[in-house]
Symmetry: C2
Subunit: 194 residues, 2 copies
Amino acid sequence: MPRWESGADARLVQAAYELYLERGFEDVTVAEIAARAGLTKRTFFRYFADKREVLFSGSAAFQASVIAAVLDAPDDVAPIDAVVAALAAAGAGLTALGEGVRKRQHIIDASTDLQEREMIKLATLTSAIGEALGQRSVRGPAASLTAEAGVAVFKTAFERWVRRNGPVEFAPLVDEALNELRGLLAHPEPGERP
Amino acid sequence: MPRWESGADARLVQAAYELYLERGFEDVTVAEIAARAGLTKRTFFRYFADKREVLFSGSAAFQASVIAAVLDAPDDVAPIDAVVAALAAAGAGLTALGEGVRKRQHIIDASTDLQEREMIKLATLTSAIGEALGQRSVRGPAASLTAEAGVAVFKTAFERWVRRNGPVEFAPLVDEALNELRGLLAHPEPGERP
């Protein structure tokens, strides 16, 4: 990478966030992001496939850290606990970034297009967790159910974290959501066979 | 609707399924679907926004029936049981259509674009279920967690149904998946506080 582009990706991300918050995601062009960062469109496309991907550039690293943690969990840890612990750790790393993460969510919440992109990233994460559990000899349907439950817990914790202002620890929110999910499922239907 | 177009939507759906299965979704055009059905492109676009939507034309009715059932469930039924019963009933209606549903899934499984569209439809269904639970006075996070758990159970049951050949009852697969999810979550981490 030529010397003059050093830090280009960070400058592009900052410029994009500023513009998305000022004017709304839909109304901002790649040319404007590049101009605000003092760079060219060509440089933009060296780092990002499109203006949506600026907001999802951390997704691959997030997923990789979750999958590594699931695969590395000790064998005697229950699959759901391995998944939730992996998501809690990766989420703690994410939420430690603070206000930038809340701003990002604010931008996503204002755009159907971005919400769809985020759903797809989460669904991809869920599939990858299911496959990782498969490598830990959890059989197919249990693996995907566990992955879905873990990601549902993560989403609940993350939504709570986003809505609270100021510094909030992430891991306790994950524990709280997991306990809630257990409670929601613990009551069998009246008359159901035991 | 002019008389000569009677049944046009059903003919378009059948033509699209035939072509998608013969040549793959990506390689089929709207003009070809219309021609196979003996209709014009203009008629196609009177019924469907694009060639993907032919495969999702039942989504709105499916979602409406699930939401109506959630809202109509007796007050003494636990939210998770109301959601799972609603999805089981709507799913039973869907799977009663038989081989066409398996063919549809076969087409979707072969296309990333269609898989993304299906994820979005399921995420939309999940949000709508969460909102319906909110109307039943289930508070926000419990509502969305319950909706996610219910949809995860539905997806697991549906995947099993699709993979089995011949007539298979849907409702028992849903009960099986719900019991599995309960089992997966029932084992607290060693050393966890009770």
